[in-house]
């Protein structure tokens, strides 16, 4: 069991970067031509979007590795990446709604990216729910890996079908379409959330590994009778 301080270092670095980038973005970066100060939400929203996608892609990779190698370590990482990815995607939806109100004039619109992100929250969140209801660690690992692969394959189909159905969101921003003055706060915050994500995923992986250890080697009944695996499953 790794007990290094690396995740804490990552999180500490992340907090420093996020404070730096956000202060820059909120107080020193210029306002946008038309959106004015509201555009400052971008420094939180866009890095969250990038990293949510990154976390869920990592979950997909973990699922493939878990199916291929059948190692519990990959299942632990899968659980961690899924949870962090779902939290970031849910956060992304909320930030998006807050940004949409002053710019588009509505809180929500059934636009491809909004809808796809919401669908992703539910699709991957459901896999986390599935994990709660399966006691056998091996079955849980296989099933959640299978469900992750299918859900991930579904994301582009959802995106394109919703896009044909309706579209309002602007295309992906690229460095060319964003003024240079906005780049640095965006980059700093992107790396901030990236390090936060890495720290959280590795810490969450340890939680998953510890739980797995408990399940596979239940403690002796006289020392802690409450923690038998069956009781663990019944509680969750």
């Amino acid at each position: 069991m790794a007990t290094s301080k690396t995740p804490y270092a990552c999180i500490g670095l992340a907090v420093t970067l996020l404070v730096w980038g956000s202060v820059w973005g909120l107080f020193y970066a210029p306002a946008e031509t038309y959106m004015g100060d509201v555009q400052r939400i971008m420094y939180a929203h866009v890095p969250t979007a990038w990293n949510a996608m990154l976390a869920l892609s990592f979950a997909f990779l973990c699922a493939l590795m878990s199916l291929w190698r059948s190692e519990m370590a990959w299942d632990n990482r899968l659980e961690a990446a899924l949870e962090v990815g779902v939290v970031l995607s849910a956060l992304l939806c909320m930030q998006g709604a807050i940004w949409a109100k002053p710019t588009w004039g509505v809180w929500w619109d059934w636009d491809p990216r909004l809808t796809t992100t919401a669908v992703m929250v539910f699709a991957f969140g459901a896999i986390l729910a599935l994990r709660q209801f399966v006691e056998d660690p091996v079955k849980r690992a296989t099933w959640s890996a299978v469900a992750t692969v299918i859900a991930f394959a579904d994301v582009p189909i959802v995106y394109f079908s919703v896009r044909w159905w309706n579209s309002l969101h602007q295309l992906q921003s690229s460095p060319e379409t964003v003024s240079k003055a906005f780049h640095w706060p965006l980059r700093i915050n992107a790396f901030g959330i990236l390090f936060l994500m890495i720290g959280l995923i590795s810490l969450r992986t340890r939680v998953a590994a510890l739980r797995r250890e408990e399940e596979l080697a239940p403690p002796l009944p006289e020392t802690a009778p409450r923690r038998a695996p069956i009781a663990e499953g019944a509680r969750s």
Partner: protein
Amino acid sequence: MSRGRWAAIGALVAAGAALLAITAGGIGQNLVYYWGPTELHAAGPKAVGASIRLGGLVAPGSIKKGEGASHVEFDVIDRPGGRVHVKCTGVPPQMFREQIGVVVEGTMDKAGYFDGRRLMVSHSNEYRVPGDGEAVDVQKAMRSTQGLDERPKPKEP
């Protein structure tokens, strides 16, 4: 190689091809997200009473306050040259201005104007400092909102 392995590869290839067809195959090219003014006129009486999303640019110099506190009237134009007069209830978002892409939900009135119930402003994927001299790639800007947002260069400060 065993039969099962071949079947697995075949399945993956089929899935990949179908995924490619959806993402890059242009299946949905004729699915329009909004009706433009030209299409609206072409539809004629069919558009009256049907719930429609009208998309286009706000024509320059056409915005005026309608009767009532929260009414706004403007013309929506599209590239083929169609023009529809829109009467919209509700307070427009602050980004609303001339030459911005809008999507209006509503229906065509018998009197020949578009009765809008919900007005949304479509933003392009560009974020600019006021007076930034960087050239705006019109082609890209047009593509960015499916031809809705022919954004003018930012005004000089």
